[in-house]
């Protein structure tokens, strides 16, 4: 009986020990619970939020580009694209094969899709094909059951309704390159297929046009599938940018020079607004959006007319005779030549051993400045340049915008060059400037290189006496940029008498018998224009050539002279300044002047009244309200 009792009491003892052990173990669990749920709770709450909330970016619509009349130059179009969600298909390869049977995919496209699916998490949609046609989309939708993981998505794509006409101004959008991503923290860039402005205005105003990303907070489950939308923060759409371009004029200028390798610039001489900026040949900007093929790229590179170069701002040319106004004014301002002083031209000037020819064999006889510009006498300007010296010519040229950075809102604009003595020393490593160099530069040859845009700017400054700078941006959003009124621009600080003399000479070039561009005068005497021709050699004319009297038309295209013409109109109240350059156009009076004449006539025909001041700031991009009798704000011509 003792044993039985002891057996039971031992059981009870041990059961209590066991029970105590259980209590202890559960106590450990309780302590662990406290650690997880109280001490470390914050950390796990954070982890839990990260777990369930997925931030998805929403691309805002890109701002449009408008011309000064409100015409849409670059807009957005709906773009249907097929996306692939990897997790929703058992076999990506099979899905793509089926897709390819409906909408053919190239080998490289397929490789790209497979690479993208590997790079992203399995629930991230990857673009398979963009710009689907209605037929393709219908085919995909009908066959949806056989295409697991494929969905059709509506996005936006850039549309350039005027294509080649404005490609050099607007630029284009394209997927961001690796270099574009450097230093750019915009989360939008992480969106697959997001496009940024890569050239032209699209690039310069990219941030403004891009807008700010919207974000949708989505609650997702463990496999990333969306359960519900928690919050939506609408992005800020990109702002519209209104350009100074006048699309109809731009179109006319583009078409006028379309057959040449050329550039044409039309500027509002009073405020520097660029009404037309044409460069020929051009390219289709939308090609970059969908991707440039290797063949296309090679063709562009091989084309000696350089369709990708914007010659108006990036092409460098000797100004030739269009430089003579600057030389003349520099000489007048320096008082080294009288306004009516005559220089005798016998067809050439000898300096030391070198003979400098005038374009007219036999010479012009005695010419003053007015006559020298009118007939484009070289001898007069050899003499004027010799007297005033290269440094003062260069300083004056810079004041008129030549060889200066005009800060145009376009990538690829060149500054050009107007040489000085100091520049020559540094550039040649000690060879000093020669007087012969001065003579050559007096007629706009030699080292001097300018862009057509700079020539147009020079002409505008000559016409108005204000240091207008060319610009393309008229308004961002609803706010008009400063610089739209003449008063915003400083006067150039050149004697009015001297300016007037040069202007009269330029008017004589076009409107007087014997002027080099008399054949290109405007038919309407009310709106006469003033101008100056320019013809520049692209290679040295040897004595043998001169002796043989080689005709330019017989030379190969790329040996022919460049043709230039600068002009402004109306003569007595300048509104438009224009510069035309035709590569290998043989002669300024022959090809450039007629083109400029036609463009100027079009500009004048397109109702000058709408370009009156002040523009109505409340209606950006709309036709300006007409104020009759205005225009007096410009400098009297």
């Amino acid at each position: 009986m003792r044993r039985e009792t002891s057996s039971r009491s031992r059981f009870i003892r041990r059961a209590l020990v066991l029970g105590g052990g259980k209590l202890l173990l559960l106590g450990v669990l309780g302590a662990r619970l406290y650690q997880l749920q109280v001490i470390e709770a914050d950390r796990y709450v954070t982890l839990a939020e990260e777990n369930r909330i997925s931030l998805r970016l929403v691309a805002p619509p890109r701002g449009r580009l408008l011309d000064r009349n409100g015409t849409v130059l670059a807009g957005n179009r709906e773009n249907f694209r097929a996306l692939l969600v990897a997790e929703q298909t058992p076999d990506i390869g099979a899905t793509l094969a089926t897709f390819s049977a409906l909408v053919p995919l190239s080998e490289s496209e397929r490789a790209r899709v497979e690479r993208d699916t590997r790079r992203n998490r399995r629930f991230v949609p990857v673009a398979v094909r963009e710009f689907l046609s209605w037929e393709d989309m219908a085919r995909i939708e009908v066959n949806a059951p056989d295409l697991p993981g494929i969905m059709v998505d509506r996005g936006q794509t850039r549309l350039y309704p005027y294509g080649e006409e404005l490609a050099h101004v607007l630029g284009y959008v394209a997927p961001a390159a690796e270099a574009d991503l450097q230093g750019d923290e915009d989360p939008l860039l992480t969106l697959p297929g997001f496009r940024i402005g890569r050239a032209g205005i699209e690039r310069v105003h990219d941030r403004v046009l891009r807008g700010r990303a919207g974000a949708i907070q989505l609650e997702v489950n463990a496999v990333g599938r969306v359960v519900r939308e928690l919050s939506r923060q609408e992005g800020t759409p990109g702002q519209d940018v209104t350009l100074t371009i006048d699309e109809p004029l731009q179109r006319f200028a583009t078409q006028r020079i379309a057959s040449e390798s050329a550039a044409a610039v039309v500027m509002d001489a009073r405020n520097g607004e660029l009404l037309a900026l044409a460069s020929s040949p051009s390219f289709d900007p939308s090609v970059f959006n969908s991707g440039v093929s290797q063949r296309q790229w090679q063709a562009w590179l091989a084309n000696r007319r350089k369709p990708l170069n914007n010659k108006a701002i990036g092409g460098l040319y000797a100004p030739g005779s269009t430089f003579k106004m600057v030389v003349g004014i520099a000489a007048l301002e320096a008082n080294v030549i009288g306004a009516n002083e005559r220089v005798t031209c016998i067809g050439y000037v000898d300096l030391g051993d070198t003979r400098f020819h005038c374009w007219k064999a036999g010479g012009h006889g005695g010419v003053d400045l007015r006559q020298a510009i009118k007939v484009s006498c070289d001898c007069y300007f050899y003499e004027a340049a010799r007297r005033v010296g290269i440094d003062r010519i260069a300083a004056m040229a810079n004041r008129f915008g030549l060889g200066a950075d005009l800060e145009i809102e376009l990538p690829g604009a060149r500054t050009g060059l107007v040489p000085t003595r100091a520049w020559r020393l540094a550039q040649s490593g000690g060879v000093p400037w020669q007087q012969g160099d001065t003579l050559v530069h007096g007629i706009g040859q030699g080292f001097t290189q300018v862009t057509p845009l700079q020539l147009a700017t020079m002409t505008a400054r000559l016409a108005t006496g204000r240091q207008v700078r060319p610009h393309l941006t008229r308004a961002i959003g609803a706010s008009i940029r400063r610089g739209d009124r003449p008063e915003h621009w400083p006067v150039i600080g050149v004697g009015e008498r001297n300016l007037r003399l040069v202007r009269e000479a330029m008017a004589a070039v076009v409107n007087e018998q014997g002027g080099t561009a008399y054949a290109s005068r405007l038919p309407d005497r009310q709106a006469a224009m003033a101008g100056k021709t320019g013809t520049t050699q692209v290679r040295r004319i040897s004595m043998a050539d001169r002796a043989r009297g080689v005709r330019q038309e017989q030379l190969p295209w790329d040996y022919r002279h460049h043709a230039l013409f600068v002009c402004y109109a109306p003569v007595d109240n300048p509104v438009y300044a224009c510069a035309v350059l035709i590569e290998h156009g043989i002669g300024g009076a022959l090809t450039a002047a007629p083109a400029a004449r036609d463009i100027m006539a079009e500009a004048l025909a397109r109702d000058p009244a709408k370009r009156s001041f002040p523009p109505d700031p409340s209606v950006p991009g709309r036709p300006m309200s007409v104020r009759s009798g205005s225009g007096g704000a410009g400098e009297a011509g």
């Binding site: 009986m1 039985e4 059981f11 059961a15 259980k22 669990l29 749920q37 109280v38 709770a41 709450v45």
Partner: protein
């Protein structure tokens, strides 16, 4: 007192008396646990009684009938068929090995049409009965005799080995620990137990080599879950996040983001505790653990109150089995031990689990109802007085 006297009669209490003797407070505690299960499963389905909560309630109701029915069965009858039951359970284990349904890399389930059985769970109950039956005659001298301990040791080793072979490491270890608990309660020498424990610990490195790859992965990722956050470590990390983010007061019913959004795997079965703890916080989780502790305490009280050794050992064994489930499951939820398919009794969704738990408590109830019956051959006659 009145009952005691009558129960002392060799025939035992009558039917009505037995119904009266059933420990209804314990039934109430079990019902409360099942109620928690219902609430949690309702939430696991995103606020829907389908597909889990309703069936859970139904099964518990069925389990209650089983519990009461078993509770009414004379404990002496159960003792008499102890070894046949053991043999049957082993047979079922063998059947499941040969024809069982493979689930999650292991053959564990026996498909019996409407209900699927997990014989390893039945096995543990049968083992409790068999060991209690064997050890009820144990004396201090016998417990010191290695040969006497050989038979029950084999009785534990056989099913543990079979379960390990399924393979179900977790359940095999639970079986071993259950056996050890009964050995301890039966009076095995402390030094001998220590020796066995030492040998077992020494065998661990060798045993590791025999594990399946997924079992090794579990253990390795348990040691370092972040090594493979989307693979084998996923369960551990996600359950820890869900648990921890619950905080003191929890996110509220149906508000547990991790569970509701399927970040928590197997939330309706193995990880129901995490779901509960996320939504009800530490307070709720501690309440759930306290409820389980109360049930365990109740079971131990029944064991200690029992006048016959068979009942004592059986009740304590069943309680230990219950405890092991609760502990292993919760510890696993907290990432304290490697993950294994061990449900939380009466809370996890799973017919086999609920049924076997209720079966076990039925046996416990039978002990309670028949606590004062006399066993032939048990050398405890007349100890009723001593017990008091």
């Amino acid at each position: 007192m009145l009952h005691t006297r009558r129960l002392a009669a060799p025939r035992g209490p009558g039917f009505a008396e037995k119904l009266y003797l059933i420990s209804w407070p314990l039934v109430l505690l079990l019902a409360a646990l099942a109620g928690i299960g219902y609430i949690a499963l309702y939430s696991a389905a995103g606020g829907d009684p389908e597909p889990w909560a309703a069936r859970h309630a139904l099964r518990f109701a069925f389990g209650l009938i089983v519990l009461v029915s078993i509770g009414l069965v004379d404990i002496r009858l159960i003792e008499r068929i102890a070894w046949p039951l053991y043999a049957l359970a082993v047979a079922l284990l063998l059947v499941v090995m040969l024809h069982g349904q493979v689930g999650k890399g292991a053959q564990r389930w026996l498909d019996l049409g409407p209900i699927q059985m997990q014989p390893s769970e039945l096995m543990k109950l049968a083992l409790c009965i068999a060991l209690a039956s064997y050890f009820r005659r144990a004396t201090s001298e016998r417990m010191g005799n290695a040969l006497f301990l050989l038979v029950p040791a084999l009785a534990v080793a056989l099913p543990a080995g079979l379960i390990l072979k399924q393979p179900n490491l977790g359940n095999a270890l639970i079986t071993l620990m259950l056996g050890a608990a009964v050995f301890f309660l039966a009076g095995m020498r402390i030094w001998a137990i220590g020796l066995c424990a030492g040998l077992a610990a020494a065998a661990v490195p060798f045993a590791y080599g025999y594990l399946k790859d997924y079992q090794k992965a579990r253990i390795l990722t348990f040691l370092n879950p972040e090594s493979d956050p989307l693979g084998a470590g996923y369960h551990t990390i996600q359950s820890r996040i869900a648990l921890g983010s619950g905080g003191t007061w929890g996110r509220g019913w149906l508000q547990g983001t991790q569970s509701q959004l399927d970040f928590l795997p197997e939330k309706q079965t193995d990880f129901i505790f995490t779901l509960w703890a996320e939504e009800w916080g530490m307070v709720g989780a501690l309440a759930l653990m306290a409820l389980n502790l109360l049930i365990i305490a109740y079971g131990l009280a029944i064991a200690m109150r029992c006048r016959h050794a068979f009942g004592r050992l059986l009740a304590a064994g069943i309680t230990a089995n219950f405890f092991l489930y609760v502990f292993v499951n919760i510890a696993m939820n907290m990432g304290l031990i490697p993950v294994g398919g061990v449900p939380l009794p009466l809370v996890s969704h799973g017919g086999s689990s609920t049924l076997t738990v209720m079966l076990g408590f039925g046996l416990l109830m039978s002990v309670h109802v028949h606590r004062d019956v006399e066993f032939s051959g048990e050398e405890e006659r007349g100890t009723g007085l001593a017990a008091r």
